[in-house]
C-alpha cells in the first residue's frame, strides 16, 4: 500500500519511523525542538531530539563522537552550504576515521541538507555541491528525486554504518508523490531507470531528473525515445546501469544543476569515456549549470541553470538532428 506525500514529508516520515524502530537514532540541528509540542520532541523526548546553536562544526563533531560511541545521529543542516563552515568534520574527520583506524570504528551519521534552492536565494544558498562530497572516500551521498526515494533513501542512510550526506533538492520540497507505507528501504548504489528508451540515454540527479523526463516527453513527440536514468546515490555510483544503457542507445546526455567542473555529470562523462567509448556513436554532451555563482535576478538565474529546452537541444545535437553549435 502507498500514500501520497510531499517530498519533504516523506523524508520526515522516514526519520520518524527509524527513530521508532531504533533508540540509538538521534536527531539534532538548529531551530528544531524549541517547543514542547513539536511532534518529534513529543514522540522521542528532548534527549534524542535537540536544538543546537549555530555551530556546524560542533554539531557534526558531536555526531561523529556519538556515532563512535554507538549512536546513529541525524544532523539537520538545512542547507548544503552550511556544511562548508564545517568541512574539516565533513570531509576530513567523519569519512576518514574508519580507514585511519584500520577498521576499528564505524561512523554511522546522516548529514541531512537541502541544496539547489534556485528560487531567488542568490549566491550562497543555491549551490549544488553534490560532487564535492562524492569525491571523498568513506562518504556515501544520496540525492533523491522522488518522494518515494526521499523516504527510502533516508531510511537506508540511517541504517548505513557509514557517514551519509543526504542531499534533498529544495525545488522538490512540495512535489507530491506516492510513498510506500511503513518500512521502505531504497538500496544505495542502484540507479533507477525512470523511462525506457532506445535512442539516447539521459542521466540526471535530484531536480534534473525532472528536466530529463520533461525533455524526454517532448522528444517522444519527435519520435525520439530517450532513456532516463536517475543514479539516486552518487556515492556509490551505479555506473553499470549507465554503461548498459549507453551500450543500447549509443548516445549520452548528462544533466546537472551544478557548475560543470564540480558536477556529477563530469564524473560520469569520464567513466563512460573510459569504459563505454566503444558504444558511443557521438560525443557525450553535458547540460550543466554555468561555471558562475548563481545570480539573484530571475531571468539570469534561469540563464545559468539547465532546463527542458537545453536538454532537448542537447539530445538533438548528440543525435545529429540539429546543427552543432559551439
Amino acid at each position: 500500500m502507498a500514500h501520497e506525500l510531499p517530498y519533504i514529508a516523506a523524508i520526515v516520515e522516514a526519520i520518524q519511523l527509524e527513530m521508532e524502530r531504533d533508540e540509538s537514532v538521534l536527531y539534532f540541528g538548529q531551530n528544531m525542538a524549541t517547543t514542547e509540542n513539536e511532534p518529534f520532541v513529543d514522540a522521542f523526548g528532548k534527549d534524542r531530539v535537540r536544538v543546537t546553536p549555530i555551530s556546524e562544526t560542533a554539531e557534526i563533531g558531536i555526531a561523529i563522537g556519538a556515532a563512535l560511541a554507538g549512536f546513529r545521529p541525524v544532523v539537520e543542516l538545512y542547507m548544503a552550504e552550511f556544511m562548508l563552515v564545517a568541512m574539516d568534520q565533513v570531509l576530513n574527520e567523519a569519512p576518514r576515521f574508519r580507514g585511519m583506524s584500520g577498521g576499528q570504528v564505524r561512523v554511522p551519521i546522516v548529514l541531512k541538507a537541502g541544496y539547489g534552492f534556485t528560487a531567488g536565494w542568490a549566491g550562497q544558498h543555491t549551490g549544488t555541491l553534490n560532487a564535492l562530497f562524492m569525491g571523498v572516500p568513506g562518504l556515501k551521498v544520496a540525492v533523491p528525486s522522488t518522494a518515494a526515494d526521499a523516504k527510502g533513501l533516508m531510511a537506508t542512510a540511517i541504517r548505513d554504518d557509514n557517514p551519509v550526506v543526504y542531499l534533498h533538492n529544495y525545488l522538490l520540497t512540495l512535489d507530491h508523490g506516492e510513498v510506500p507505507d511503513g518500512e521502505y528501504l531504497v538500496p544505495f548504489g542502484e540507479a533507477a531507470v525512470r523511462r525506457e528508451g532506445s535512442d539516447v540515454t539521459i542521466v540526471g540527479t535530484g531536480w534534473t531528473v525532472d528536466r530529463a523526463l520533461g525533455a524526454a516527453e517532448r522528444l517522444a513527440g519527435e519520435g525520439i525515445q530517450a532513456e532516463v536514468i536517475d543514479p539516486r546515490t552518487i556515492a556509490p555510483l551505479d555506473t553499470h546501469t549507465i554503461l548498459e544503457s549507453v551500450e543500447k542507445t549509443g548516445h549520452l546526455v548528462l544533466v546537472d544543476q551544478a557548475t560543470r567542473h564540480a558536477s556529477v555529470s563530469t564524473v560520469i562523462a569520464g567513466e563512460v569515456a573510459e569504459h563505454g567509448f566503444g558504444s558511443l556513436k557521438a560525443p557525450v554532451v553535458q547540460v550543466t549549470g554555468l561555471d558562475a555563482t548563481i545570480p539573484y535576478s530571475e531571468p539570469l538565474e534561469a540563464h545559468v541553470l539547465p532546463d527542458d529546452d537545453k536538454v532537448v537541444a542537447a539530445v538533438q545535437r548528440v543525435l545529429g538532428t540539429a546543427p552543432v553549435t559551439a
Binding site: T52, S55, G61, I62, L68, E93, F97, Q104, V105, N162
Partner: protein, 324 residues
C-alpha cells in the same frame, strides 16, 4: 571534589609509564633519523607528565581523544608499545594496521577513540562521547587533549559553548607548551592563559604546572570525580615544555634550546623521582630498574615492528566503508 591523593604505588606506575613513553619516543626519533620510520612524526618528550597523570585515573570506557602529538596519550591510555611501534613502522600488526600512522592512532579496546591530525578537529568529536555517556546514564567521562594552538580555532569555542550548554561530562585538557607549531603563543593571541578563554562559559577551570605530576593528578582527579557524578564540563590547562621541535626534522630556528640544567629542574620524570624520594615512597636504587624495564620493552617493540609484515594492498579499499 577531591580525588584520591597520589600515593607511592601510583607514583611508581606513573614513573614507569613516563619512562616507557620517553624511551619509546627517543627511539622513534632515532628510527626516524635512520629512515626506518619514514612518516611524519611529532614527539611529546617533556610533556609525559600530563598524559600519565590524566590517563592513569581513567577506565577503558572513558573515551580519550588526542591530536597530532598523540603517542604519549595512546600509551598512557593502555596501548601496547609493540602495537604503537608497529603502527609507526606502517606494519599490519600496528594498532591501525598501518593505515593511520603517528597522527591517527586509535585503540578502541582501551577507549583511546582517536587522534586526529588537523589541529582542533578532535575537540568537537569528544563532545559526542560525552553525550553518549549522558544518554546511557553511564558515569563514563570523555577527555580531550589539545595544545594551546587549537584554542584560537573556531572548533574550540563551538565545543566549549555546547559542552557548557548541555553540561556534558567532558574534561578539556590543554597541554600549553607555549608554541603553536612553530609560533609562540604571544603571536597568536592576547589571552595568555587558556583557562581565561573559557571564563565566560562558567566552566570550572584551572591552570597548573603540567610537569608537576602530583599537581596534574590532583587537579584532574577532582574534575574527574565530579564529572562522574553529573558535573562538567571542566578545563585543565597544563603548562608544559616540548623538548623536541614541532615535528622530527624541525630545525627549530624559532626558539632557544633550554639549558640542560634548567631542563633537569623541569623534567616531569626527574621531578616525580625527586618527589617520590622526598615522600619516602621508594628509594633511589629502585629507579634504574624502572627505566631499564621500559628500555627493554621498547627494544622488544622495535623487534616486533621489524618482524611484522606490511599490510596487504587490498586492505586499503576494504577499509573505505564499513560492511553494510
Amino acid at each position: 571534589m577531591v580525588a584520591e591523593k597520589l600515593g607511592g604505588e601510583q607514583a611508581r606506575r606513573l614513573l614507569a609509564t613516563m619512562w616507557r613513553i620517553r624511551i619509546f619516543e627517543e627511539r622513534v626519533g632515532q628510527l626516524t633519523r635512520a629512515g626506518e620510520i619514514d612518516g611524519l612524526i611529532h614527539l611529546s618528550i617533556g610533556q609525559e607528565g600530563v598524559a600519565v597523570a590524566v590517563c592513569a585515573q581513567l577506565r577503558d570506557d572513558d573515551h580519550v581523544y588526542s591530536g597530532h602529538r598523540a603517542h604519549g596519550h595512546a600509551i598512557a591510555k593502555g596501548a601496547g608499545l609493540d602495537r604503537v611501534m608497529a603502527e609507526l613502522m606502517g606494519r599490519d600488526t600496528g594498532l591501525c594496521r598501518g593505515l593511520g600512522g603517528s597522527m591517527h592512532l586509535v585503540d578502541v579496546e582501551h577507549g583511546f577513540m582517536g587522534a586526529t591530525g588537523v589541529v582542533g578537529g578532535n575537540v568537537p568529536i569528544a563532545l559526542g562521547s560525552a553525550l553518549a555517556s549522558r544518554l546511557r546514564g553511564s558515569d563514563a567521562v570523555a577527555v580531550v587533549f589539545f595544545g594551546d594552538g587549537a584554542v584560537q580555532a573556531g572548533h574550540f569555542v563551538e565545543t566549549v559553548n555546547l559542552a557548557a550548554l548541555w553540561r556534558l561530562p567532558l574534561v578539556f585538557v590543554c597541554e600549553n607548551n607555549g608554541f603553536a607549531e612553530f609560533t609562540p603563543r604571544s603571536a597568536h593571541t592576547v589571552v595568555e592563559r587558556v583557562s581565561d578563554v573559557v571564563a565566560p562559559y562558567g566552566l570550572e577551570r584551572a591552570t597548573v604546572d603540567g610537569n608537576d605530576v602530583p599537581a596534574v593528578w590532583d587537579a584532574f582527579g577532582g574534575y574527574l570525580a565530579s564529572a562522574r557524578t553529573g558535573g562538567g564540563p571542566f578545563l585543565l590547562e597544563c603548562l608544559t615544555h616540548r623538548v623536541r621541535g614541532h615535528y622530527e626534522g624541525d630545525p627549530g630556528r624559532y626558539r632557544e634550546t633550554l639549558a640542560e640544567a634548567e631542563w633537569r629542574e623541569k623534567d616531569p620524570i626527574l621531578r616525580l623521582e625527586r618527589h617520590s624520594a622526598a615522600e619516602g615512597w621508594f628509594s633511589d636504587d629502585a629507579l634504574p630498574g624502572i627505566a631499564a624495564a621500559a628500555a627493554d620493552e621498547v627494544e622488544a617493540a622495535v623487534r616486533f615492528g621489524r618482524e611484522s609484515r606490511f599490510p596487504p594492498p587490498e586492505l586499503v579499499e576494504a577499509m573505505v566503508y564499513a560492511d553494510g
